[in-house]
């Protein structure tokens, strides 16, 4: 199987006042295309920093991130924007929808700027929200807002879906609907899904689980048998 990402000796150092914080200390990793990958780790273990760097919204201090063989750590800021535009779909814990656009307009905002997108309504259909298409974010529940965010992320048919705590703000029932939506996207469009979570049980859904400890990958597990969202214990 092709590698979607190849990570070589990735390091990230922050300076907070006079303190030097090593968010990532030499991460080496391959992430195959088309898998569902869960990043697990305590707060401050470096998983969010890792996700931000491979998603092209943060720069590494040193090391290389190869996306399908292309080195992201040496391209310009505008190329990085193009990279995000074409290849990456983001789902945030805090949804980050544009409050002044309706659900379908939030999706269309992204489909307008990329090459072979889905119809916005099809993206909403994929996550079961067609009937809420013309509602503004203020008229939607948290779960619904998150599903709109997923629809927005998948509408451009990205290679990769990066999700930072997508169910963090949701109850278990809504959380499971959101997770199912992500798995559906993975199967239907062969999208690589990389999901950060605190919830270890979500790891049972993944093809591959990567554990972060103190800015390093401590181990990588491959699930022989994956569970469905209904089967996991919240």
């Amino acid at each position: 199987m092709d590698n979607c990402f190849e990570i070589k000796d990735l390091r990230k150092v922050y300076f907070s006042g006079e303190n030097e914080i090593n968010a990532l200390r030499s991460v080496n990793l391959n992430i195959p295309s088309g898998e569902v990958v869960v990043l697990l780790g305590a707060s401050g273990s470096g998983k969010s920093t890792f996700l931000n760097i491979i998603g092209g919204i943060d720069q590494p201090s040193s090391g290389h991130v190869l996306f399908k063989g292309k080195d992201l750590s040496i391209i310009s800021a505008s190329d990085l924007t193009l990279f995000r535009r074409k290849n990456i779909g983001f789902v945030f814990q805090s949804y980050n929808l544009v409050p002044s656009l309706t659900a379908i307009e939030n999706v269309a905002l992204v489909t307008e700027i990329c090459d072979h997108p889905m119809e916005p309504i099809k993206a909403l259909e994929a996550i079961g929200l067609t009937e809420r298409a013309n509602h503004f974010p203020s008229q939607l529940s948290g779960g619904e807002q998150q599903r709109v965010a997923i629809a927005r992320a998948i509408a451009k048919r990205p290679e990769v879906l990066l999700c930072d705590e997508p169910t963090g703000a949701l109850d278990s029932e809504t959380g499971s609907i959101v997770l199912q939506a992500l798995l559906d996207v993975n199967i239907e469009f062969n999208t690589t899904c990389i999901i950060i979570t605190h919830n270890a049980s979500i790891a049972d859904l993944a093809h591959r689980v990567i554990h972060f400890v103190d800015g390093q990958v401590s181990r990588v597990e491959v699930n022989a048998r994956r569970k469905t969202p209904e089967q996991i214990n919240w």
Binding site: S48, I57, D58
Partner: protein, 789 residues
């Protein structure tokens, strides 16, 4: 101040938004400074003026007459209400100055032999006064002395009663009576071509054939006396002696000009401070409401741990106090400093020999208090919002803002709009008040710019109408006595004179009902081309063969219209009263009077056609020769060169009004910049997260900036028509407040002014956009992920 944790928080919070703080402090300081400057300069100038008038015994009532015996003086002194009276001899002369091709004109005024004048005393700048009975010695007005770079002891060649006499300059003086010295027929002072000279009564009586007689009266009145009554009594006494019309200080030309200048300064100056304070209030409002929004969770926490509502309200009020504090220091300091400089400049312009500064503490307190009030007003809602937040709610992040489809979309326009444009429109519709305030702030800045540049437009328009359409002669001359028309032939014979036309002016009193007005009627020959009468559409009117044409302003004052008859009382010669119909109205910005055809006037006067002035068109190459020739004619007592009048007018404008204008322009640019920069910065801060998410989704910096600047751009564009409208309102208000019998301000604004003002505003906008665009680059994409600010 005790350094409590809240105070520490305050200083650090302020430090974090130092760019905004500086912008607001500067706008507030500008408001306070302009306040202090305007009132400081006006108060100081008024104090200087009144001190000068008091100290040098400036008269209250004045009159001139043909000739009266000295014995009349005691009767004048006995008029009820008169405290001091003085009679003088004055005499119009021409001067031949080596540095001028054309003759200069002058006025000689007598001073009592061997004693100080009782009224209208002189401030001797250098040299000495004229000795009693000293002949051929004069004290010269400082303006003229300086304009010709004279030195004490120089001789000035003066034509008096047809005889050329060298007079020695023994002293240089200033007089409260001639703060402004304006030659007869001119509308602006011209120090090079108009001299005021004082000499001994004895000498002037002899030169002017006024032995034992006088032709000029000044009176000082007791406090509280009715000026009109005294004028009436004086007119009654002087009428048999050719007394033309007594006038008070308000009609005294020099004083009228000074007052007019001060009024003009005032009307230019009072609008600006209020605009600044309004803008400061607006800026404080947007910054404070933003701070409360940003600090929502902190406020919740503070309340949760036990800080009272009062403590929190006080905390936010302190922000305002600190801003006002710094603005006051800068504003008062800068304002006082600039006011002193400007007072000095104006005092020099008016040639006040003394200079009094007056910075009233009340004005300063008022400026700071207005500024505080404006800032408080701007903060009040935000503070209330902060205080009213229940702690638990405050600590939760705000739920998404509620948006609706805009009116345009409901009307079906949305298909034509991109999503980014929809975001912009919905933002605007969601906060109409904020947008309206932003538009108003910018519109005010534009209005001040237009208002400031308008002065120059208006003046050059006035000049164009006056000197291209009405007064088209190159030179006009005045004769001492009425001449027969044959004199035109001899003028025309002078080489270089291309055309000559006659002119006759007659002083008259016009009466309609109970309203009287003393003006001059100018009579021109039919089809006169060098001097024309223009109608309200600025087209030349042919003078009718009966009746008279009057200025529309005069018609308004006398409450007459075309077809009405006026009682015209001649103030010279036969002194008869005639009833003459008004047959047309004329448009003029300068002066006020009537026009008649020369023959019609002659018939009314029952005289053969005579003239006391001539209008001349010159061959430019020979003008010097013509002036030399005119100099040689003693019967010519006055001469005005149109190009010189025009130049003087523009010079005075440049020296006086335009300085105030440049200050206004500076401050208006500051406002434009302040409003737009702050609005853009706040918008960036409010929507930073949204913009960051969009960046993460793959929108480019350009697209994200469109979102931000699209709204601001729209605000800027909408501000343009409103600004132009407000500018015109300010201009109309000013034109009405400055409307006087001497001149009217045309409310003419050139396209160039509109364009330039708009460009300045747009440049300020673009500069702010650029600075904010620079910040867009620095949006933290990672923080958007985390969902915190």
């Amino acid at each position: 101040m005790i350094v409590t944790p809240l105070n520490r928080k305050l200083t650090r919070d302020l430090w974090n938004i130092k760019g905004l703080v500086i912008a607001i402090v500067l706008v507030m300081a500008a408001g306070i400074a302009i306040f202090v400057i305007m009132f400081g300069v006006l108060d100081s100038l008024r104090l200087t003026q009144s001190t000068y008038y008091d100290r040098y015994q400036f008269g209250d009532v004045f009159a001139s007459l043909k000739r009266a015996p000295n014995s009349l003086e005691s009767r004048i002194a006995n008029i009820k209400g008169v405290s001091v009276s003085e009679v003088r001899v004055t005499f119009g002369v021409t001067l031949q100055m080596p540095s001028l091709d054309e003759p200069a004109v002058g006025k000689m005024i007598s001073i009592p032999d061997g004693k100080e004048p009782r009224l209208n005393q002189l401030y001797l700048r250098s040299g000495r006064m004229v000795y009693p009975n000293e002949t051929n010695a004069i004290v010269v007005d400082e303006n003229f002395f300086n304009a010709h770079e004279l030195v004490l002891g120089d001789k000035v060649m003066v034509v008096m009663n047809g005889r050329l006499r060298p007079l020695r300059v023994v002293g240089v003086a200033l007089s409260p009576e001639y703060v402004y010295s304006v030659a007869p027929g001119a509308i602006m002072p011209d120090a090079r071509r108009y001299a005021i000279m004082w000499t001994s009564r004895h000498q002037l009586e002899a030169a002017a054939n006024m032995k034992g007689a006088f032709n000029d009266v000044s009176l000082k009145l007791n406090r509280g006396v009715c000026v009109a009554d005294v004028k009436q009594s004086l007119d009654l006494l002087l009428e048999p002696y050719g007394g033309k019309n007594a006038y008070g200080r308000d009609e005294q030309l020099s004083n009228f000009f000074v007052d007019n200048e001060l009024m003009q300064l005032e009307s230019m100056g009072v609008i600006a401070p209020f605009v600044f304070l309004a803008v400061a209030a607006f800026l404080v409002n947007i910054v404070m409401s933003r701070q409360v929004a940003v600090q929502r969770e902190q406020i919740g926490m503070l309340k949760a741990v036990g800080y009272s509502d009062k403590a929190i309200a006080f905390h936010f009020l302190q922000w305002v106090y600190i801003l006002v504090f710094f603005a006051s220091i800068i504003g008062l300091g800068l304002g006082s400093w600039m006011a002193m400089g400007m007072t000095k400049m104006y005092a020099e312009f008016f040639h006040f020999p003394i200079l009094k500064y007056h910075f009233s503490v009340e004005v300063m307190i008022f400026a700071v208090a207005s500024c505080s009030a404006a800032a408080m007003l701007g903060t009040l809602f935000s503070i209330r919002k902060a205080v009213n937040l229940p702690p638990a709610e405050a600590m939760r992040p705000e739920s998404p803002e509620v948006f609706k489809r805009t009116l345009l979309e409901k009307m079906g326009f949305h298909r034509h709009l991109s999503f980014l444009s929809r975001i912009i429109l919905r933002q605007i519709e969601r906060r109409p008040l904020r947008v309206l305030l932003s538009i108003t702030g910018m519109a005010l800045a534009l209005a001040i710019l237009i208002f400031s540049y308008f002065m120059e437009d208006s003046m050059s328009y006035l000049m164009d109408v006056q000197y291209d359409l009405i007064q088209r002669e190159d030179v006009n001359i005045a004769f001492a006595e009425p001449q027969s028309k044959t004199v035109l032939e001899s003028v025309k014979a002078i080489p270089g004179v291309m055309a000559v036309e006659p002119m006759r002016t007659v002083p008259v009193r016009l009466t309609s009902g109970h309203i009287n007005k003393n003006v001059a009627i100018t009579a021109l020959q039919s089809g006169s081309d060098l001097r024309r009468v223009i109608n309200q559409q600025l087209r030349a009117e042919v003078l009718p063969d009966q009746g008279m044409v009057i200025n529309e302003r005069l018609a308004g004052l006398l409450n007459v219209n075309i077809g009405d008859a006026l009682q015209v009382h001649l103030l010279e010669g036969s002194q008869t009263t005639l009833s003459i119909p008004v047959v047309a109205l004329t448009k003029e910005y300068i002066g006020m009077g009537g026009y008649m055809e020369l023959h019609v006037l002659s018939q009314l006067l029952d005289q053969p056609p005579k003239l006391n002035g001539a209008l001349i068109r010159l061959d430019d190459n020979h003008s010097a020769r013509v002036f030399q020739e005119i100099k040689r004619h003693p019967e010519i007592i006055g001469m005005n060169i149109t190009s010189v009048l025009r130049q003087i007018f523009m010079d005075i404008m440049a020296e006086n009004i335009l300085k105030m204008v440049s200050i206004n322009i500076l401050f208006a640019s500051l406002i434009s910049f302040g409003v737009i920069y702050n609005t853009a910065r706040i918008a960036l801060s409010e929507r930073g997260r949204e913009l960051a998410s969009l960046r993460v989704l793959g929108l480019t910096r350009k697209e994200v900036s469109y979102l931000l600047f699209g709204e601001l751009g729209l605000v800027t564009l909408l501000a343009i028509p409103l600004g132009i409208y407000l500018g015109f309102l300010m201009i109309d208000a000013m034109a009405v407040s400055l409307d006087s019998e001497l001149y009217r301000i045309p409310t003419y604004v050139s396209n160039q002014t509109l364009g330039l003002s708009t460009v300045i505003m747009l440049v300020c906008s673009l500069l702010s956009f650029y600075l904010v665009w620079y910040q867009v680059e620095k949006i933290d994409l990672v923080s958007a992920q985390k969902g915190v600010e």
